[in-house]
Symmetry: D2
Subunit: 484 residues, 4 copies
């Protein structure tokens, strides 16, 4: 449908087929970056003497205007053709026809995607860091708030809610790190690779890269246009983050279910049923959980698309880009919702349920080891028997009598030890007894919290720095093209 | 955000969270079906005497008007609430408030999806059948057109293009069958299952089902709202179809590549490069190939979403529906493009390439068996050696001398057999010699072609019949509600 | 490495590469079926007069012996070559070399996989049916056993455990149907399609098909060797079944968690912790849940493998077969464990938890509609407010006073209605009031249970019939080859 | 089935269920690492004074012996229980029962997986680097060997084979980097996190970490046992590498197909057909392509398994570990085969096919720009027309006459420019004209090759260094436990 490519090799395209294959709608997201890429290319053409300063000036001015005003309503196949067509419409075919010298859509599109993606990754990292900051902030409130730790969806050991929030936070900090590490390979310039073989025009690829804020080149020209591992590893980082968000959602859905009732969701983030008046459903969390599933399969889509594709640009690549933006948008909006939800959660003091209070068992066994001198395995077995009896007779571990313990242990028990056992079965203060690094006792949690505050600040600063470098480069590009 | 559910159990929702979780945009596709579901429900309420004819008439009239005029611009969470709100706005809370008696969004949404899906599946089947019809029609032209059959991407044996087209057609006929088989489980009514437990109002579920054109019920009320296997098997059928379309695309990309040059793509379905003037790229086919990858992972998304979800309605289900429509739309548009592309393909008579012409080898070996009485394995080994020598000396199998053959065979060769060997290495007519059922000889291909024409006609008629039954039911529903 | 294919076209293979690509290990599962395929082929060669009865007899006898005694320790690439080599070793190259006349590994391997797969699918269906039979049997015990129905993991409405078990059963019956439907396309014979083009020997493909117990042919010879949709749809059926099993596992994990405590897992199907003596972990169910995830991605592996493969046999196909067996084995072993686990479950009478008992709310609202004449939406809102107050003041719905209800309803309330409201909030008998088809009242559940018993018996009989037909065919094959 | 856990909380396990859920078979891979973990734990128990030196010595000696001699034939659920049982069997319950003090399977298993995985990742990186080294070495031979560069599977521009090999190499170098980056998060110690809450015994987690060669801790105890992102990111790195290997396989399958015939596969890495004697099938490459699909879905399996799992150890994790080893083994074996295959490839000088030789077109257009002063778009259109005419009349671009060019250009053409155009259409030397960084001209390729040699050496050295540090730590552990 575009005029620039017509009447050469092929007769005109079938309209429906062209619409079917067109990427213009989805190119909007890389429109501005593509114009900037053209500007940097013009600067390089001028520098290399391939075009004159006058031509350069004319091209640069029109491009500058197009940065935010591309006429997407045109029916052309993609943004690259749209830009060249628009430039030719304004400046005439003589000057406009020069724009594509020594470049190709293949290097351009990879360049533009990378330019947008590096910023999205930085923003995603920032958003993760803000979420962790919120978790850390909230965790201050819950330093001594008893919480049930689960394994196998069964109550396991006493924690504090603070410790839980920091555990989640730590996993998200790794997500942020992965996100940032990816940028090192995203932020390299393919420009100048042409269609696959570079060019017989002597263009300075490093100059273009610098003007566009890249850290270096994807050097080999074939590799530069034919590789999409930068998309895949971005989607992989998104996938792992999505899994962490789905886990948080799952946790909160479970913790807030009427049976468990450890936390209460804020009304504003729940909804009721049209038929069951008592319902308070965790709608938002379920939607996050399900959307995160889609983020994970965006990666799978990319994998299936790329698997066994031959080396070289293939138009299949076009279908990868929307996956990136969909993953980014879904994660950012999920994070936005979660940040606000987490700050309005409330913790239920909570009546302790029969089976749940038995989570004191490990500490009771440890006490038998420490105070009673029993081997751990013997203590473990004895407490296991005690649990059985406690469940059958509906009493708690602290209520069991000396004779009972002695029969469980198949050994005698010092009454002093029995006292300590009773103390160890008091759940609400038990987490104070944890001594190892990283455990839920409040002093250790405080220490970790303070360390995370510093870590987050450092990471945000480093992200800011990376952003600034990029915007400075673009400013330099503007300065140069304005000077022609 | 909706008013019907406010001021009961929960305080009002967070606007952003509500927007985030809202399904209204994607509900558009089931809007009309949801209104019809409401109409059938009203009919059942009247029949059961739960509401009077007057109330029934008022509700039915407003609903009738809403069928194609739902105000989607409202900010509510979904189409169910939208309808109830709109009915209440027009008829007042007293009558509008009656509409949701004995029903739930849970049974309604599954009902509406099934109503739309059964039609989409029928249309998809029709479109597949039209594509196969086109393949069958095209195959008439190519009854005696030599074509290279490949295995392992290496030239294997001579076929005709007709035979290839019918092979593709047969795999697509199975896709059509799968699509239709799924309908048997899709076209069952969950209505009346309520939220999960049915209702204490005595509603006639079969009556509702009949009015909505269903073949029967998803009987168990919990199963009716909690199961989404009908979505999964629809997506699975789509996935396998997508793989078949990706295969066809791959074939045509390969057959039309300049090296292979068996077919020529129509110019209108190809595009050139912005930099390489000689290029004729199979853009449209590459896009189909890549979009088909997404169809396959729509299934994976549904799998990951549903895996380990507890029994009962969960809002995660909401995210499955768009996957269905995306797969349907992608397949339908891909089929539309392929139907037109296939009818404009042209076959290259083609110069035979050196390695390619060796595909006569199997027939040469068979000849040595039949005419020469050699065991197949011995003949096979001899021809293998002949191929080596032919490749090294750049001659064809028919050019090899008696002495050479005798050394390959490690046996004497009757000159009469040698003649037949020479004949067997003539590629262009070789496919005439195939004798087994389903093989590429033109008579057998003709027979198959005629059988497929009949099969397609039958299948289209059966689909038409299924459609008619559904539209008749809806007409009956309209008649009944109009009669109140 | 094999001798039959050496010294022809290629010099000998690299040992490591050959081992890497060899499928012999995984061919064991299709070994017997491949021998049978050879026997049927010999019968057809004799029938067509391509070989004599004497040769036929010799070949048949050796093959018969090999049926269960293939020497898998040989180092050859696959079972096809193994068989030919072994036959040639015993009968000499002259007769052994005849065996491969007019056939190919391509048609043979697809034939053998289909032979094994059809039996596995029948067995899988049987196993599903046995599981449903167990669910139905168990459900008799729990006709009047109150159970909590959940949506969004929140208590929703009262059910019976019987109704829950039948809901699961119904979804599994659909799995069985899907499994059986697939067989219609699996149980077709590719034999005689050769490598892709049939054969110039006049073989009777229908004869071979009949002897091997097939219902018909995959007719088009290219389609017959190049299509693997039968593998994909088998894996798709497995995937949906796997999701149903993962759902059951998830349910039981949740229902048996100490917080929820609706059911108690049998000790023998749980395990404890090495450190936490009180733990009773649902290990087996977690493993089923996770293995089911692998079953679902076996399908994805097949999808990614097949996507964009060109038409024709490609060795990639070899990697699909183990996915089939892995899915079959995982599902069968999971079903075996679940059948025994379900029969040993015990239901907890259970103390009702505060939030949970509010599931009477829907019935209370319905009562306000039926007895009080309020529009449902008004009743729904009133009960919503009642729930809030009940939760805040820790009372149950039945305890609320007339004035409170009147303020919730913003209307007067007849004392008679108030009595009915109190009755409606009695949970334990509530399910008796459900009247719609498929709902949990015991009479309706009894009716469904009896219907399912008949359905299962019918399905098992039909499967038995299908098996018998196949074994009769194979017996006929044995009779014929023995008669040479 | 194990005795250590029996007779406590639960009655004994169902044998089949226990076998079903047992991980002992797959634990073999982490057996040695688990024993070492126990040794380090004993060292820490001694250091903390929780057990005496005498007990420590006894335990350490037995463990030392078990390092390579675990009795896997025992029927127990996993390697952790196996070790404790074996130690208790030898030393008696009194001392053996001490071993599990202050630790859990949850922290142990994650520790052991990480210990094995870090080494596997290092080895995988080494193997990748060796493959790239081979590519770089081979590329020396082909500095001036004309090769066809493809886009969209259509001949695009002339490259050298050397340039192609280096392009592949560069993408693999990024794979190696990703593999190494993952280690930073893998090589952290969870030991001391216990089941999820750390311990009330004062153990020095950093001491244990150091003795086991870790760089640091997974600090938060809940995070340490509940997170598997280290598995996911390892599998993600494997997935992207698998896609690169599938791409190389796809390339070689295409380049070696008889139609394209750019390269010849070594006979030893191909196989023939049992029926078609001329076939030379790229079996090994197809198997790599298909196995790489499985590597990618190993990641998907992990995703589906982990999606929406609640925080805490769940036995589902057990099923993740085999995915890791399967991916590692598949990639390592594929790389081993590819390294040897690549070194035996031969390049075909090759007769140029009609459509293929038109890849000179871009350079012809560039020449019209440089020498003729035409705008690129005009030149591009003119060459497009020239291509059409050349294809129709079967001549090459260099054969077209001045008048023809002038009509294509719609402008006059200087005869001097015509000469240059003719020169530009000479393919075999064209790549010498490329001037940009990263392009295929031999000087630039030489420069890149030398740089890669240095990069590889550096990376291998760094990997060596990391390995050494780990083995030194383990030696220190041995020294300490021997000193008790």
């Amino acid at each position: 449908l575009s005029s620039v490519l017509q009447r050469g090799r092929l007769s005109s395209q079938d309209k429906d087929a062209a619409r079917f294959a067109s990427s213009l709608e989805q190119d909007k997201r890389i429109g501005r970056a593509t114009v900037l890429t053209n500007e940097a290319h013009v600067a390089a053409l001028v520098k290399a003497g391939i075009i004159g300063r006058t031509e350069g000036r004319k091209l640069a001015r029109v491009l500058k205007r197009l940065e935010d005003h591309l006429p997407y309503e045109r029916e052309v196949e993609d943004v690259h053709v749209l830009i060249e067509e628009e430039v030719s419409r304004i400046l005439g075919a003589r000057i406009g026809g020069v724009l594509h010298t020594a470049k190709s859509r293949n290097d351009q599109v990879s360049t533009a995607i990378r330019m947008v993606l590096r910023m999205e990754l930085l923003q995603l990292s920032n958003q993760i860091l803000h979420f962790v900051a919120e978790l850390v902030r909230e965790s201050r409130k819950y330093r001594k708030s008893f919480f049930v730790g689960y394994t196998h969806l069964q109550p396991a050991q006493p924690l504090t809610f603070s410790h839980y929030l920091l555990a989640i936070g730590d996993s998200l900090l790794r997500d942020s790190k992965r996100t940032i590490e990816v940028i090192a390979r995203v932020n390299l310039s393919p420009m100048g690779a042409g269609a696959l073989a570079g060019s017989s025009f002597k263009l300075d690829r490093n100059y273009v890269a610098r003007l566009l804020g890249f850290k270096g080149l994807v050097e080999n020209s074939l590799d530069a246009v034919a590789s999409r591992d930068f998309v895949l590893e971005s989607l992989a980082a998104c996938t792992i983050l999505a899994l962490d968000l789905s886990r948080i959602s799952q946790d909160l859905i479970f913790y807030s279910s009427a049976d468990v009732a450890l936390v209460t969701l804020p009304d504003e983030f729940a909804s009721t049923s049209t038929i069951m008046p008592q319902k308070k459903n965790p709608d938002v969390l379920e939607v996050i959980r399900a959307r995160c599933a889609r983020v994970t399969t965006n990666f799978s889509t990319a994998v299936t698309t790329v698997h066994a594709l031959p080396t070289g640009y293939n138009l299949d690549f076009q279908e990868l880009t929307p996956l990136l933006w969909d993953s980014m948008d879904t994660l950012q909006s999920s994070l936005r919702v979660l940040i606000r939800l987490i700050s309005r959660l409330s913790l239920n003091g909570g009546r302790m349920k029969v089976g749940v209070e038995l989570i004191a068992a490990t500490e009771v066994a440890n006490t038998l080891v420490r105070a009673g001198g029993f081997p751990f395995r013997q203590a473990h077995r004895a407490v296991g028997r005690a649990v059985r009896v406690a469940l059958e007779s509906g009493v708690s571990l602290g209520d069991l009598r000396k004779e009972q313990w002695e029969s469980f242990l198949e050994a005698e028990l010092n009454p002093r030890v029995l006292e300590q056992v009773a103390k160890a079965s008091d759940l609400k203060s038990s987490f104070h007894g944890y001594k190892t690094r990283g455990s839920p006792n409040p002093e250790e949690v405080d220490r970790m919290r303070r360390a995370r505050v510093r870590e987050i600040a450092l990471a945000l600063r480093s992200n800011k720095h990376a952003e600034t470098k990029i915007t400075h480069s673009i400013r330099e590009l503007n300065r140069i093209t304005a000077s022609f």
